[in-house]
């Protein structure tokens, strides 16, 4: 069992059984990978929406074995940070600088959903149609 975190989710899940498996790699079933990350295996490669990353030729066993996907290897391949605890019990699949920079330079303000003090969720996109002055602060 591992806990897989993304920037917006936390999921406890069984890792896929592959050999050899080490703490350095996060193997998940294709179904779990899609549910957690939105990325899925297609004939073109590892895909999300219109974006597909081809599985490297000649080395495909390192990335895909049967129904299992080496998510951490794909994350590395895509230049996204995949970090874990020493015991590999918790993984975080982060976003890479490349996709962040692409998003920012498009000038489309990245959408987010966060709670207010009462726990009610608000998304930036809820306020489309208004000018929004987005300000951060902190208690510390």
């Amino acid at each position: 069992m591992v806990t897989v975190l993304t920037e917006t989710s936390a999921t406890d899940i069984e890792v896929a059984s592959v050999r050899p498996n080490t703490n350095d790699e996060l193997w998940l079933s294709a179904t779990d990978t899609a549910a957690i990350t939105g990325w899925e295996m297609k004939p073109e490669g590892f895909c999300k929406g219109d974006i597909c990353v081809p599985t490297p030729a000649g080395n495909s066993d390192r990335f895909v074995q049967g129904d299992a996907i080496n998510v951490s290897a794909f994350w590395d391949l895509m230049g996204k940070p995949a970090v874990r605890t020493a015991d590999a019990g918790v993984w975080l699949l982060g976003e890479g600088a490349g996709s962040r920079n692409d998003a920012m330079i498009s000038l489309q303000a990245p959408d987010f959903t966060l709670p207010d003090l009462d726990g009610k969720l608000h998304s930036l996109s809820d306020y489309r149609g208004k000018r929004v002055l987005l300000i951060t602060w902190a208690s510390w």
């Binding site: 806990t3 975190l5 920037e7 917006t8 936390a10 230049g79 996204k80 940070p81 995949a82 970090v83 874990r84 605890t85 020493a86 918790v90 975080l92 982060g94 976003e95 890479g96 600088a97 962040r100 920079n101 998003a103 920012m104 330079i105 000038l107 489309q108 303000a109 990245p110 959408d111 987010f112 966060l114 709670p115 207010d116 003090l117 608000h122 930036l124 996109s125 306020y127 489309r128 149609g129 208004k130 000018r131 929004v132 002055l133 987005l134 300000i135 951060t136 602060w137 902190a138 208690s139 510390w140």
Partner: protein, 208 residues
């Protein structure tokens, strides 16, 4: 300041970058804001918008486009010797500019053109992206009673993104008033040299 602006045209969205909701609560309740205030426990906005300090502000138009990139609002650098009056003037200058945009929208003189806006967006590096990932993992561990592991990961995160006051102060020791503003903090601020803690906003009328 913003009373003259119609609610359907403009809003303030205030986001507390606080892992501890209860630390943010008294500030929000004392301010009794008439704007929306959200809590960002994992500093998602730091990662999404490449933010590194508070306060930081960004202007987003009706279509969801950034029209003034991330910048310090009307705060002048804490390491520099401004008097209270000048600091107040800086705040007012910024608020007036935001108010001008709130009323006039795309006709506001405080907007940059698209190329200039893009130029003012700093690039995120791989190290910064990795720092955010580690910070978020650390936050999860801290929330789940694994403080020692979290500490170690936060230290790596700080090292990867030394410019981030958000990462440093969120994870540093707090004083009795809940502020991460002890000797070590001020030592770090002083050691910035020419780099500013708050980078003065490039805006007509802003004290330099």
């Amino acid at each position: 300041m913003f009373e003259s602006v119609k609610d359907e045209d403009f809003m303030i969205l205030s986001v507390a970058m606080d892992a501890d909701v209860e630390a943010a609560r008294p500030w929000i309740e004392a301010a009794t804001p008439d704007y929306v205030t959200l809590i960002d426990q994992n500093h998602l906005l730091s990662s999404l918008y490449n933010m590194f300090n508070v306060p930081q502000a960004v202007w987003i138009d009706e279509t969801g486009k950034i029209v003034r990139p991330v910048e310090t609002g009307g705060s002048l650098d804490i390491a520099r010797d401004f008097d209270q009056e000048t600091r107040a003037q800086a705040k007012l200058t910024y608020i007036n500019a935001a108010g001008d945009w709130a009323v006039n929208g795309s006709a506001s003189k405080f907007l940059f053109d698209i190329d200039e806006t893009k130029k003012r967006i700093p690039a995120m590096t791989d190290e910064i992206a990795l720092a955010h990932a580690k910070f978020q993992l650390g936050q999860y561990l801290r929330r789940n009673g694994r403080a020692d592991e979290a500490e170690a990961i936060f230290a790596e995160s700080c090292e990867l993104h030394p410019d981030s006051w958000n990462i440093y102060r969120e994870t540093a020791e707090r004083n009795e008033r809940g502020l991460a503003a002890g000797d070590e903090f001020w030592e770090k601020v002083r050691s910035l040299g020419d780099k500013q803690y708050y980078i003065t906003v490039d805006m007509e009328g802003m004290p330099q």
